[in-house]
Symmetry: C2
Subunit: 460 residues, 2 copies
């Protein structure tokens, strides 16, 4: 057989032991917080029926789905005409969907909705789950954007209570606190955005108004007003919007101002204000120290979020949103279970990884798995070292023995390259006295340690 130059598909990655060590530190930190908050793990299959995925992510999303070719005779039942028609098309989607029944998971939200509906009779609601699994998107790969990447979602479904929003914010505080990343959490509420639009007489233009608010910082009020006029807002409406665009002060002050502006003009808007107020009240009562900032320009996921919207940014590192989410009132409707409200957030694992790396926040131990290398002198000494090694491992210390009686320099190099902090020497004398010589490779310091104390010595 010809020799192949090995490579992997573009946009995918191998994770080396060092990277895995860091990733596990990150995921373990996140998971341990999720668990303390009562969320339980769930996993769904990598492949879903294509019908489950299609139409859930917009037209663009459909194009980015990875489809899995049916096994065996994938052309069975497909007419020649269909095939020829497809071969003349630039984007033979129809044929693709004929010859592929399955697709790779595009996110964790749709499979979660599918799971909840499929298992609705077994589940206890509110159902709290977290899910950490890879997803696949046929996006053009670029720096920081991959075709296979992990999502890390936490959701509660089947409860409208705002206590969950408060809990999710606590989770954000605890996760980033444990990781040592200083962050700000921005919060908004779709109902307030709708309420503002309704108040100024343009309930139909919520999206445009939100985008205008978003651009204020960059282009200034004049340009924003021009854009709003172009998009069909009357001069009167633009005038009414002005105080909202100029809102300032802390969260309570902003809420007060919006309350005044909306007045009795929008029931939805008032409900949104009340929701944000309740959430802030919880946070005050719980002494949440995370900076939480009401930001009316936050427009993430306006197509599906129906209440709170969250976004988290790192304060000390230039990076887009590293975590985000919100409340959705009809996630499961498409699969036949209406009126099931949920709220969740998603941690952007790859971005958080990059922030931790950029700020040098990974603990030195993450990725350094092995505490000690037992030197191999061969023969009876090898056996002596191997026996001591077995005891040390049983005591919970990760350690290994160099597999052959190679030259000391080679064994030393191996320990150094693998970042192993200790070398343990068991020679004739050591076996006789039942005392190992342990060398700390960082300091060069050598100690004589009784065999039955070696595990403890290495644990420190």
């Amino acid at each position: 057989m010809a020799i192949q130059r090995p490579s992997i598909p573009k946009g995918t990655r191998d994770f080396s032991p060092v990277e895995m060590g860091r990733r596990e530190y990150l995921f373990d930190t996140i998971k341990s917080v999720f668990r303390r908050y009562g969320f339980a793990p769930l996993e769904t299959p990598s492949m879903e029926n294509l019908s489950t995925l299609l139409g859930k992510y917009g037209e663009e999303g459909d194009k980015l789905l990875f489809k899995v070719l049916n096994s065996g005779n994938f052309l069975k039942g497909v007419e020649s005409e269909e095939i020829l028609a497809a071969s003349e098309s630039d984007n033979p989607v129809v044929l693709g969907n004929r010859i592929c029944e399955k697709g790779l998971r595009y996110d964790l939200t749709v499979p979660f909705a599918r799971y909840v509906v499929q298992h609705q009779n077994e589940l206890v609601f509110p159902f709290k789950r977290y899910q950490i699994q890879p997803v696949w998107r046929a996006d053009r790969p670029q720096k920081g954007r991959y075709r296979e990447f992990y999502q890390c979602d936490v959701d509660v479904v089947g409860s409208k209570a705002l206590i969950h929003e408060a809990e999710l914010i606590q989770i954000v505080q605890e996760v980033f606190g444990a990781l040592g990343i200083r962050v700000v959490l921005k919060i908004n509420n779709r109902k307030i955005l709708y309420g503002i639009s309704e108040t100024i007489g343009h309930a139909d233009k919520m999206m445009e108004i939100t985008m205008a608010i978003d651009k204020l910082d960059k282009i200034g009020i004049e340009a924003v007003n021009e854009e709003l006029a172009e998009r069909g807002l009357s001069a009167e409406a633009i005038g009414k919007l002005k105080p909202i665009l100029e809102l300032s002060g802390d969260n309570r002050e902003k809420l007060g101002a919006i309350t005044e502006i909306i007045g009795e003009r929008s029931e939805t808007g008032r409900l949104g204000i009340q929701e944000v107020t309740t959430i802030l009240d919880y946070l005050d009562a719980l002494d949440v120290t995370l900076p939480v900032e009401l930001d009316l320009s936050l427009a993430r996921g306006l197509n599906y979020y129906t209440g709170a919207i969250f976004e988290v940014k790192a304060l000390d590192f230039p990076m887009g949103s590293i975590c985000g989410g919100g409340r959705y009132d009809n996630l499961t409707g498409i699969f036949g279970l209406p009126d099931t409200s949920g709220v969740g957030i998603s941690f952007g694992a790859d971005r958080i990884y990059d922030v931790l790396l950029g700020l040098d926040l990974f603990p030195a131990e993450a990725g350094r798995n092995v505490r000690a290398l037992f030197v191999n002198f061969g023969g009876r000494e090898e056996i002596g070292a191997f026996k001591l090694l077995s005891d040390v491992r049983r005591a919970g210390v990760a350690a290994e023995i160099y597999p052959e009686a190679a030259k000391m320099k080679k064994q030393f190099d191996y320990a150094e390259k693998r970042g192993i902090p200790y070398m343990v020497f068991v020679g004739e004398t050591e076996i006789e006295t039942q005392t190992a010589t342990i060398k700390n490779l960082a300091t060069g310091e050598q100690s004589s340690v009784a065999f039955d104390r070696v595990a403890d010595h290495l644990k420190r």
Copy 2:
């Protein structure tokens, strides 16, 4: 949009929180042993280039690969004639390979080999890695056989030392010891099988002879000899084989008998005997208590294993092999790195899961994530409970609050259905006295516990 009845592709599974809890217990147990033995985690992409996978698993394996349709115009550059020819075929493999550049990982061994070759200049050898990831096979689904399932491999590559074989056997002992499954490990060596074939003058018929040995128990010596004759073995050769078929006694006795039979007739055979002897010597020196049995009928992976062959079976549960592996001398050759010997074993996660379930060996805690439900009385009491809950969580206890002030029965039912062992009551009196009432749902027992002792009380 039409409502869809949700389902998942056949042969795939959702893992519920309870199942996930058990799976994590299983994987964590295995991982923690791997780590203590100096193995570091590695992950490779779910998709590999199809060229990396094709031809590695035999003709049957090629058919079982899941192929991923190229995104965009997958028919670009494919001639109409090719397509029409394919549409007349029963199994349009050629077209499938034209329109799919990528395939889903079929096992962890080939991606590992690909990784080692691709990163050979960065790696330190011997390279010890473990890998726990799903693999996909388009097999016909049946009980216990899935199209997506996890493999759990541990390998060391770049060392011929037999100390690794001994370590892997220790790992088997520790993993199954920790899980509480009594097992036997069968060991064989391809070189011995070859040596026997060479000794009886049929070096070309190693496979047939091994299969005959394998059938001895089921069909008896007469039938086996008949079969061997049919397969072209001379009467003389069959006569020579007889004492080997009838080998009995412990490992050392068997080795002695084979040594005598092979004598000077096969260098390879003698090497194999020496390898097994060395491994057994290690195990004796290390006081390995795992039952290890030399079994010449063990023929697993004879196509790629070149030295030791391992297989592990549960003693108290009817189930095929739950773990197996061996030494391979040329895994990386196909990718351009010859002479790189490795040895590894793979734990069959799904089967081990079934054994644990069948023998009722999962710890009761596995899958029970939440220790306590804080009852929600609403208003000021809700805030009081929520505050105490936050402290308890910060102290490391997994707990939650019922999201609304529902009827007690509803909150109680929720705790019971989720298997939450404690309920914590924080009412007016409790807030005043800073003392919670904690109810143990299993015993019905109620205790009054000072707020600052609640976390400790729940940890017990």
